[in-house]
Symmetry: none
Subunit: 255 residues, 2 copies
């Protein structure tokens, strides 16, 4: 395994710790606030918290794994021989990416038929995208990485099409107060998800060794914070606006 | 103990971590969502969450045990001599399998007499099935494994009969909105439970050593996710549909 510099080691170490704290805090916020939105939106807010909770668990584990792979002592880095388990990211995404799409569909409150058909299709495409990406992530040569990356982008393009085309009409039917926020949640999902393939392609740009390890770890970490904690908070705000627009008064038990 | 390859070690390691996260997330979802269903269905949802919580605990333990049995350092696997404690699975099943049948009976909301007679009979058969399976699981030779496996399949057949014959009429009395979901929960229970004996029989197929260890661990893990988290989410969906069909408005304290 490539030896990172003491600076790179500390940067990634602190980024993982930061992200654990951010994800755990987002989870507490979402679960504590779910009772403030109308019952129809509670599942969306619950699931947003599940996504950040699952991510918090994996950032805790990935932090431990990073710490087991290197020792920084007396200003000198040594590799311990224990592998850094990058697979935690893919395991995390396999669970959280379908859930992220489900929270986005649920907050729109479509008909039960549309909700279940869209969640099934989007969830399946998301899982396929992750599974196809992994062989490329662990590949040593760039052509293999590019092959799997390209295959993985097919379901990604389908998801983007579904979000912008398929959900487009539904956005027009959202209450005026929430419409812009729903558009922003969709855009933030698209922008943060579009950041992952850019990070994935870092080795194509000629980066190697410890530099590519550092760029990939920091890049995925930033994308995860935006896509999970950022989108989660937007889902709560949309739920809250829509609850008000539909006459729900937080904390009052009546319809 | 047979030495797994580094790939097999990582595959099982990540599968255990994934399953811990999935079970813990399912528990959080079920327990947070129980207030959204009518009081009559809350016990079914609570118990569904108990099942995934117990499984999360055991996957945490089994992950630790797997990690204690092998060391992967510098790309090389060494057995530490500490045994991998497979008994966690049977201890888990002894608790969760009767509870799984109870959640399925409770969500159907039969008469109190039917509910208690069915839960006692199904719970007892489920415990017997697990207890009879264990001596075969730890047996070294195939005839002993086959003997206990066959004995264990007697209560299994009884459970299947009870689910399809005995609960058949009760399904017809479910509200139309929930009937298909109840059928699907029963089918998912049957299909996932039918997967365990197939995994159990892996050594009959001539698989040996580290290969059989890997296949058994992954097979049981997949079956557990479907049978516990998958069925649990279905139980919540059934509870939610039936609550609506019976005029319950989520979040409103009346009825």
């Amino acid at each position: 395994m490539d030896i990172v510099t003491p600076f790179q080691f500390s940067l990634v170490y602190n980024a993982f710790s930061f992200t654990f704290a951010a994800m755990a805090a987002a989870t507490a916020f979402l679960w504590l606030s779910r009772s403030q939105v109308a019952p129809a939106y509670r599942t969306a807010v619950t699931i947003s918290g599940l996504v950040t909770a699952i991510a918090a668990y994996h950032y805790f584990r990935i932090f431990e794994s990073w710490n087991a792979a290197y020792v920084l002592k007396g200003g000198v880095i040594t590799a311990t021989g224990f592998a850094f388990n990058d697979a935690y990211r893919y395991v995390d995404w396999l669970l959280t990416v379908p859930l992220l799409l489900i929270e986005l569909v649920l907050v729109m409150r479509l008909s039960p038929e549309q909700t279940s058909s869209k969640t099934v299709r989007l969830g399946f495409a998301a899982a396929l995208m992750i599974v196809l990406g992994y062989p490329g992530e662990i590949a040593i040569d760039i052509p293999t990485r590019a092959l799997w990356g390209t295959l993985s982008s097919i379901p990604f393009v389908y998801i983007v099409w579904e979000l912008f085309r398929g959900l487009g009409e539904s956005i027009e039917q959202q209450p005026a107060a929430a419409r812009d926020l729903v558009r922003r949640a969709r855009l933030l999902t698209f922008a943060s998800w579009g950041f992952y393939p850019i990070v994935y392609m870092a080795p194509y740009a000629g980066l190697t060794g410890a530099n590519v390890t550092t760029v990939i770890q920091l890049g995925y970490t930033i994308a995860d914070i935006v896509a999970k904690a950022g989108v989660g908070v937007l889902i709560f705000m949309i739920s809250s606006r829509k609850s008000q627009a539909e006459g729900h008064v937080a904390g009052v038990h009546a319809a």
